[in-house]
Amino acid sequence: MSKESRMRATVNQKLTEMGERERLKELLRAKLTECGWKDQMKAHCKEVIKEKGLEHVTVEDLVVEITPKGRALVPDSVKKELLHRIRAFLAQHAT
């Protein structure tokens, strides 16, 4: 198993060093904005804030409320596209 974890570590390192991680992040952000995910999540945030009160809401509150819903609401097309790119990167650099 340590071979695997070594491989993972190497891949992650390469991902960061080559700038691919950053590019993927930007791509994901752009796609999520495009497909309306960001607006959906912002609307949800508004509800949370109204609930908790504008003055008292903390980062933790938001994270706890937003993250699970955010993960679930990512559209499949976006996931597919990102995975495609990740797999391509792995195919090139993981073997």
């Binding site: 491989m7 508004k46 504008l54 993250t67 797999r87 792995l90």
Partner: protein, 201 residues
């Protein structure tokens, strides 16, 4: 490929797939966190609710989603079949053809001087500005606008077109109907309209 290698590579594949999923998961989490920070900062700095107004105004300006209307609730194709009266020739022109017609009619567009030149040079077969003259000429310069001069016009087009932008370097008048090309125009031999022949003759 040996059997062991095949099974090894499929094992690797599933591991790679798992790795890919993990990386995706990290990226998504990162995006969510980013959003949380952004929202939290907006809340604490006081600009999160800035673009909201009261409920009533929000309802007034809500996006309209009905067939036949645009997002503002206006009918968007009601001008398609309307007709406008040209201030120049006082004819009734269809709305979508109005702008090109004005171009030709007022003699101010990009192509209007060329067409006017052609018309003048090849004689006034149809002296009255006929329909085909103005309206069919829009994208193809020399549509069948005039019966007799059609062939001549077509021949000249092949001579003229590659040259016209370049030929009038020193004399380019945008608004004049009698462009510099006009000087070279010779009714008998359109072949004289060659790029290399200079203007002063």
């Amino acid at each position: 490929m040996k059997m062991e290698e095949v099974s090894m590579s499929s094992l690797d594949n599933s591991k790679l797939e798992g790795l890919a999923q993990d990386i995706l998961s990290d990226l998504v989490e990162d995006a969510c966190l980013g959003l949380c920070f952004e929202v939290h900062r907006a809340v604490k700095q006081g600009y999160f609710f800035l673009d909201d107004t009261d409920q009533e105004s929000m309802r007034d300006f809500e996006i309209v989603d009905q067939p036949g209307l645009d997002v503002f609730g206006q009918v968007y194709n009601q001008w398609k079949n309307k007709e406008c009266v040209c201030p120049n020739c006082s004819r009734s022109i269809a709305a979508s053809r109005f702008a090109p017609h004005l171009e030709k009619c007022l003699g101010m567009g990009r192509n209007s001087s060329r067409i006017a030149n052609r018309r003048i040079v090849t004689g006034n077969n149809t002296n009255n500005k006929s329909e085909s003259d103005q309206e069919d000429n829009d994208d193809v310069n020399d549509n069948d606008w005039s019966y007799g001069a059609e062939k001549k016009a077509k021949k000249r087009k092949s001579d003229k077109n590659p040259n016209s932008p370049r030929r009038s370097k020193s004399f380019k008048h945008k608004n004049s109907m009698m462009g510099p090309r006009h000087r070279m125009d010779n009714q008998e031999s359109p072949r004289m309209l060659m790029k290399d022949e200079a203007f002063p003759q």
